[in-house]
Amino acid sequence: MDEPVGKILAGVDRLRARLLNLRGGGVAISERIRNDLGAVVFHLRDADRHKPMVVLLGGTGAGKSTVVNRLIGQSVTQASMLRTFTAGPVAICAQASDVPTDWLAVPLVVATDRPVRGEIGQLDCVEADSPVTAAVTLIDTPDLDGDQPAHHAQAQNAFRWAGGVLFIVSLEKYQKPELLPFYALAARYDIPAWFVMNKVDDAGAIDDYRKLLASAESKLFAVPRNDSVVVVGPELSLESLASALATAGACRPSFAGTRERVKDVLNRIIDQMLVPLKQQMNAAEELIARLRVFSPPQSSIDVNPVTRQLQQRMKERSVLYLAGPGRMIDRLRQTPQFLTKLPRFTWDRLRGAPTQPAIDQATAATPDTPPDFAQSLADQLVSVQVRVADILRATPEGKRWIEEDEAGFAATHFAETDASAIAEEEVADLKRWLESRWNANPWDTRLVKKFIKFLPGGDKLARWSEAAPYLLAAVVATHHAMFGHIDLMILGGYSLTVWLTEKISNEVVSRTRQTNRRITERFGELAQAQINRYIGWIESHSASKRDIDAIEEAVRSLILILEHTRDRGAL
């Protein structure tokens, strides 16, 4: 195809393809826009190869069908005194092939019975020979102002595809506002237009209508009402309209008009589609940015209660503990309690009654069952979800998306079990380790035992090592009496070393810390994955920036081409 129409058509094709790719919001409106673009392609490429498609527009009862029948000279479309009677577009042509395929983007149905009434969603076609149909194809449309909204939509759609318009008003209706924008559009698009005032019974009304149409180059015709005595001049009569139409085969919109038409469609794309889509996209981007800076809460889980018992047991088995000052201090701490319990204990033993537990209930703080870590993690996950939902609901777009796609939004949530599984796995892991360690010696004890094996009488030494602190105390006491207080430094140094070694060597504590850390890390990953899923969900609900930019680029470049095109060029 040649310049420059070919260029425009290529641009429109590119635009249509990009509209097809559009995902997320705006799918519904893109359907309508594609239909409009179909009309544009028809006007640019195919219109000249067919007879002009002249569309009749008018209110209900203005007499569209009646005028058509009188122009053709035979009853082709059904006229009725009942209102909103014509229900769909009807094409009146010399032969069915005059109607371009896919015109109005609805199927073409060739009518066998006449007269026809039209039907929504199809284009009825009546073949009728007459001087008018030899030159143009007439399209009768449903009303523009009746109580059936579907009729208005069809009439408007027919106007978008029209190569010529025949406006029909009646005396009663010529002052109604519905047709006014179409007059202006027809002039703007340079569509050949004819105006018929029907049911005239006062010649003054024709002049009034002419005044109303002042801007239009008035191809005005008038039809008196049946019972009226008004006589209209021959230049206004229906016959002269018929002959005007019969010679209208070459009447085409100028290229400038068609250019305006294309521009209007493009502006509609910008106003009705790109602007809302961009607003949506901006809202989505803002939401995504907010989600990205949203820091999920750290899991505050401490598995310490699970390991506390083993820790105690390990401590009591540790040779370092036995040999260190800790045990002595613990014993000292327990002495008064032991002393006060002694009489009662003895009395109970003498009576043979069951003895009271040695530790006071009020001070026994260790709970029997550790807290439910799995539940707690699940709660925290739900808390993250609720907070994200709050962020989404705080914006009108987010709220609308959630309302529109409740199921989809629910599907983006991770199940609570995903979070509780983390805690369950890690705690089970920890418990397995605890069981394997329950009867084991701490590593310091193992080391000491190994070392002692090589010494003569090592077993005994191991047993005696427990007495080390007491012995040391005794040694220090005597030493103090003999040599002064250098002993205090020795005692302190010894205690400090043993105490520090004991703390550092505590493998249970380090294992506990490790589990805590792993739970925190895994939960953090899960929360991040959850947020990423929300981001994905938001992205699926707004057109991507790439798509919008592609469409906008296509629209802008088309407008640019149109601005610089002055004539059609050769086809």
Binding site: D147, E172, L180, A205, N226, D360, V386
Partner: protein, 571 residues
């Protein structure tokens, strides 16, 4: 406005507030709503219709003289012509001057049968002149009997139907008259009947009437034919006052019905059942997540708390010991000593508890409830986001509010325990008649008896008294000897120590027995906890109660005599 109407309007406003929905269009200040609280002694009959449907001609035909300007084309009627009796002209002028200053003309007559009827010729409702529509809408608010006029060409127009629907929300369909004009222009056989039916069918569809209304088929050109003579006869006789007030009442009821059907459309009972399910779910969750923790970790330890018991014992002991003279002094010395020992043994003091002490003992027990509440409400919000509105500022899923709820529980529990203990102390420190005497005897009596009375009596009774002054002197010397006094003091100390121990023992025993038998009835902590749980759901139950009250009010209207009888009459 009647009481019913006012109440109904209040109900509608309450529903709007409760459900946060848009108010019905009838309450919109710009709505074309008939004023039913009309104090004037005349009523309006007005012709409403499209451009050039023949309203003015019809007015002239009805009146029998040309009072309204008739035009065949152009802008046509743009102000209001009122045809009224001379007597009401002054009032009418005042009224119209107020509503539509300067846009009216009044034509007076002297027919006594039309004294209270004012016939209005109005501008059109469908032309491009927007001022016409605005004027007509203003007058429609006053017009009890609108006469809808459409020509056979315009009867299917959408604007007129939309306006009819709007007016019918506030006026009874029985007050409307429907006219199909210009019927003389149709020549087809049976045209009048066919169109009458088609128009009536469309009106019935718009107004949702059970049967098509009567349509008057008229022609202003041929006033003697069709329904014009009948219509004229009807309109040339003013309606009786009862008739008008009944019409007004019907209009008022129509407004009530409109409002009531709006209330029906809000699906209050659906909201209520959803709320009920929500409350049940919330109560279940609360029971699941908090009930267990509350019973096991709060109520059970509180019920058998040794600290509370010790505190009770202490308080009982303190009060009882203070009744003993001298032993009281001993207690001043021994009390701190005992406390010191106890604090060494148990790590904390078990003295009598003040209210704030008690709150502190409850504090660690209720602390795990905060995350539990948070988790529960986070889950509830996750599954039912609509609870957000009910909780408003009291967002229990956030830590601060959950903390506040928990400290509320802590305060209630502490207060209950405190009150219970006070009554227990009161019960446990009762004394019996004569116990005071016994206490004096055991203390002051002992002080007198052992050092003084007993030795004197001993000497007096055992040894024979020969010379009294000498004996007394001997006695004094003996009694006041240092050794004797030391002995006495030591003995008395032991004696009072024994008494102190005995009182202490008795206090323990009494508290122990009291705890077993519990004469005052058990402390109902679980009742307090239940009450607190219910209070957590209070916002929801409050909302449910409000909704239920609204439903009751709506039901009362629905079954109230007035509306019911109208409905019956209509059927």
């Amino acid at each position: 406005m009647s009481e019913t109407s006012k109440e109904l309007r209040q109900l509608v406003r309450d529903v709007v507030q409760e459900l946060a929905v848009e108010p019905p269009s009838l309450l919109d200040p710009n709505a074309v709503a008939l004023r039913t609280d009309d104090p004037a002694d005349f009523y309006f009959v007005g012709l409403i219709g499209g451009k050039d449907v023949g309203k003015s001609s019809m007015v002239n035909a009805l009146v029998g003289q040309s009072i309204a300007g008739v035009s065949g084309f152009g802008e046509g009627t743009k102000s209001i012509t009122a045809y009224a009796h001379r007597d009401v002209a002054v009032d009418l002028r005042a009224r119209l001057e107020h509503d539509i200053p300067g846009q009216y003309a009044i034509v007076t007559h002297d027919q006594p049968t039309l004294r209270r009827q004012v016939l209005l010729d109005l501008p059109d409702i469908d032309s491009r002149y927007e001022a016409h529509l605005a004027l007509t809408r203003k007058m429609l608010r006053e017009m009890l009997y609108p006469l809808w006029v459409q020509s056979h060409e315009k009867y299917a127009d959408v604007q007129a139907q939309a306006m009819l629907k709007e007016v019918a929300e506030a006026n009874a369909a029985d007050n409307f008259l429907f006219c199909l004009s210009k019927i003389d222009q149709l020549t087809e056989a049976n045209a009048a009947e066919l169109l009458r039916q088609d128009y009536a069918k469309r009106i019935a569809r718009v107004l949702d009437l059970p049967a098509p209304p009567r349509v008057w088929v008229i022609s202003a050109q041929k006033p003697d034919q069709f329904d014009m003579p009948q219509l004229r006869a009807m309109l040339s006789q003013q309606r009786s006052e009862q008739d008008v007030s009944r019409s007004l009442e019907q209009a008022a009821r129509q407004q009530q019905r409109t409002l009531l059907s709006w209330v029906d459309r809000q699906d209050l009972s659906g909201h209520l059942s959803r709320l009920d399910r929500l409350i049940a779910a919330a109560a279940d969750q609360l029971q699941d997540r908090i009930g267990g923790v509350l019973a096991e970790q709060v109520l059970k330890p509180l019920a058998e708390d040794p600290v509370q018991r010790a505190g009770l014992t202490c308080e009982v002991f303190d009060q009882r010991i203070n009744r003993w003279p001298i032993v009281r002094l001993l207690n001043l010395i021994l009390g701190p000593l005992v406390n010191l020992v106890e604090s060494l043994v148990r790590g904390r003091r078990l003295g009598s508890l003040t209210a704030s002490d008690r709150a502190e003992t409850v504090e660690p027990l209720v602390r795990p409830l905060t995350p539990a509440i948070q988790a529960t409400f986070v889950h509830l919000r996750h599954s039912q986001p609509e609870i957000m509105s009910a909780y408003g500022e009291n967002r229990l899923w956030e830590q601060m509010n959950a903390d506040a709820a928990v400290s509320d529980l802590r305060r209630r529990l502490a207060e209950a325990i405190s009150a219970h203990q006070q009554s227990a102390v009161k019960h446990l420190t009762r004394t019996w008649f004569g116990s005071g005497l016994l206490r004096w005897l055991a203390t002051l009596g002992a002080v007198l008896w052992f050092p003084f009375v007993q030795p004197i009596l001993n000497i007096a009774l055992v040894t024979q008294i020969k010379w009294v002054p000498i004996e007394i002197a001997k006695l004094v010397v003996q009694t006041l000897s240092g050794q004797k006094l030391l002995q006495d003091i030591a003995f008395l100390f032991l004696w009072f120590l024994l008494l102190w121990l005995w009182v202490r023992y008795r206090a323990y025993q009494r508290v122990k027995r009291y705890m077993k038998t519990d004469k005052l009835g058990r402390l109902d902590l679980s009742g307090i906890a239940d009450q607190w749980c219910n209070d957590l759901l209070r916002p929801l139950t409050q909302q449910r109660d409000q909704l239920a009250a609204l439903i009751n009010r709506a039901d009362a209207f629905r079954s109230s005599g007035e509306l019911a009888t109208v409905k019956a009459a209509k059927d």
